[in-house]
Symmetry: D2
Subunit: 279 residues, 4 copies
């Protein structure tokens, strides 16, 4: 169902890869709500992903860009404003990657050149997006910028590794830049802390299925899906949330406010009972 919440609004959506991506769902929903936008990802991701299909469906231009490169970002913002015929109203940042995770380096055996890349790609890229937009004066007053985060920024989850530190920094960038961009241009900057989501990126983490089951049973409303996250993004891009800024907003079916649920405890206890029978 559509409400015209983004009628006439223009944006850039970073990070769609295929139809499992949260950014993909955001693009579909933004389009349904009346927005026009460009889609950006790295050249490699565009080659291996299915972004063309999404571009056609939503009438969007696909612009390859490395979000860690200032010249790429400059080009992206210029081309986007050119294509859209004016300044932007919203941006989605859905970018993150850890070579330490990919290569199976544990957190007490990090490769520091990988760590630098994790931070550069997953956190500093968000600052670069904001600083580039600011210098080009590329966002309209009351525009809205959202980046996707994860509860690992507050609480340690084994194997989430250096992405936890990157997300903590990402959320800090949202606050730090949100202050300046709010004060000077009335633009809001927030992060959404989303449930674990079975995207191509998310599934890469070892032990992901068990964790998904645990968070599903811990969360009174269950894990939030990519589609539901897209709905939530729409509200944050709309004019109905103009005074929400510098926040990290949990979109997780209640997980972040849970200590222990009956449903998760039942699974856990069953395993304990087996112990006792075996002993």
């Amino acid at each position: 169902m559509a409400y015209n919440l983004l009628k006439g609004k223009k944006g850039i959506i970073f990070g769609a890869l295929n139809d499992k991506s949260i950014a993909w769902k955001v693009a579909e929903r933004a389009w349904e709500e009346g927005a026009t936008f460009t889609l950006s990802n790295t050249p490699v991701a565009i080659r291996y992903g299915e972004l063309d299909e999404l571009g056609k469906k939503t009438g969007s231009k696909i612009i390859p860009a490395d979000a860690t490169s200032l010249s790429d970002l400059n080009m992206l913002f210029e081309e986007s404003m050119d294509f859209l015929g004016g300044k932007l109203d919203f941006i989605l940042h859905s970018i993150g990657m850890s070579m330490n995770v990919r290569k199976g380096r544990t957190y007490d055996d990090l490769d520091y050149s990988y760590l630098q890349k994790t931070i550069d790609i997953s956190a500093i890229s968000f600052h670069k997006v904001l600083q580039t937009a600011r210098k080009l004066n590329a966002i309209n007053e009351w525009g809205s910028v959202v980046a996707l985060s994860y509860v690992a920024a507050q609480r340690t989850l084994y194997r989430y590794n250096d992405m936890a530190d990157a997300k903590a920094m990402l959320e800090s960038v949202a606050r730090s830049f949100g202050y300046i961009y709010g004060r000077d241009k009335k633009i809001r900057v927030n992060t959404i802390s989303q449930s674990p989501t079975p995207t191509t990126a998310g599934s890469g983490v070892a032990g992901f299925d068990g964790l998904m089951d645990f968070t599903e049973r811990m969360s009174p409303l269950g894990n939030a899906t990519a589609e539901e996250c897209a709905d939530y993004c729409i509200t944050l891009f709309s004019d109905l949330t103009r005074k929400v800024t510098m926040q990290n907003l949990f979109h997780d079916g209640g997980f972040s406010s849970m200590g222990m649920s009956l449903r998760a405890m039942n699974v856990y206890n069953r395993s304990l009972e087996i112990d006792e029978n075996e002993d």
Copy 2:
């Protein structure tokens, strides 16, 4: 501007007094967005307020009820479902009062019978609303319940007094009941932590003007108004935020994430400079 976000949805709005009330603004916006609802407040508030006008404008039934009375709440829910022709989809709880504040009792000289009333009216009433709704099975699946809170629940503001403790408990009730109501009925429960707002209730706090100026200059987007709060409530009542629950959501122009702003510091420093000149 309206989007039909609440088309066909039914609700109860507690706490509207006059056109400065946040609850009043929520009622106006909910009506614009296609909702039908009843309005409730205490008999005294209804007598001295201007609720009739709002009821006529929005086609709502006004039902007097003391939100600390279980029998009143039962009657209210029954009459509301009767008037609206079915179960509810949303509830707004905008209720709070401290006799200690009114009577000028400082926090180290509380009257404990007043304190009990503060807690009963400002926090336990929210539990009573939820428990009554639950027992009557009065809310549809994926319904949404919101209560209004204030940052004093996390950080002490002089003179906010025992209302701080009441708001801390209110936010806890949202989490505690949100778990059960989410698990059993897919109903979400959240609080909005709103900027200081010059309502009839808010203005009662001594020194309110200076505080409003401070928070205005601390918040990069300025204080959030009652109208803006109403817009935000609409998003939380809509179907676009179904997986947001057990959260306290700051709607405050960024205040909650600020340590010190340039604009507030400039005012503060000017006063310090005067000191030095005088000395």
Copy 3:
């Protein structure tokens, strides 16, 4: 091992029942560190507990008092200062009780007279202790007041029930009164959020063993014991923490900062694997 950290300091310790109580351990450690103090609990608890033994060991006077009664508290403070020969330096508040938990009333079926008692005993009593001390000017400058709390104040644990709301309010009282008492008398007020501890009170919660196992495996250092909590209290009563105030301090082996540990996930996953084999 003792360090003379509390040499010459005087205090009141509320809530010791038997040698499993955290308050009991605090009394033993405070005595070892050179403090003198009185011990207080309700007349009933004193009758059924073993406080006499503790009193003899530590040379303390046992003073029955209902911590919800202002006249009892007045008497207690007067008698304590009399017995100790001067004003106090520290207070431990380890008091909490829920009739809703005891009677098995679930959180969506609370008895509201029980709830009022939960709040009065578990949260407001802390305010009464502080207000009485303040009015009698019973605490020396740089004195330290600590109350025991639990992570349920921030995150919902099934069956912890209305104690979660009481702990949230308790922590708020620490902040609210900590502001006034710090500003006026240089006295600090904090709460310690302690691991689940197998005291007589703690064990009353149904499903306590499974929860203890879960938090043990989630916490990198394991659950904190009552003895360890007593050690931590000593540091907060000492002169080495004079500028720590209005804080809720987690003493829980790291639990509060964990999202998921490998050890807990292993137990959880084993249960899931059984499911698959059975299906």
Copy 4:
């Protein structure tokens, strides 16, 4: 006054420059409490500082090391264990630097090579210290590691700039590594979030005096001094806080839990009144 709290304990203290440094005060207090340790800083800081004096007073070896260099850190840990005659019990990390701040680059005009250095020096260095210690098995069971942080990690303060993001990441590193180090070796890792302190580093921030005055009046106990911070560190290095880990501990006279104090508001309001008189 000394208590023998660190009798026989061995450590490394990073970041002492001169007698205004927090690390300097920690060294003095650790020495008084019976510890032996080495002192480390960059070669440049050692040349321009007064570390020799501190080394003589406390019988410590001074070991120059760049905390961003793995080979330097390896050498430092080896030499320290050699000098101290065994493994370590505590480490203090008091390291931070931003070229963006020094060069007056505002947060919306960051130099990204400077930002990378800020993160490397102020946050990643902490990971490198921990990873090096872990690989060398250089810390005894129940050892304690502390890094110094600032409330800017949670709340934006104008001009604190990219140090806010570095501190947010630093605190995340403490949690992430605290999980692993706790689970495997019973070693705790925490950060202390200290009041603004007039050290050589702190004073470099423009507008520091006004901010110090504001936080002094906002904090019920006033700003915490470097000496008081040293006392607090001692408790965290002692055996009395063994189950405190993965925490960010505010040592700030209550500032972090304040929304607005009467004393700060009085200064602020006086400036507003002048406005009105002038208008």
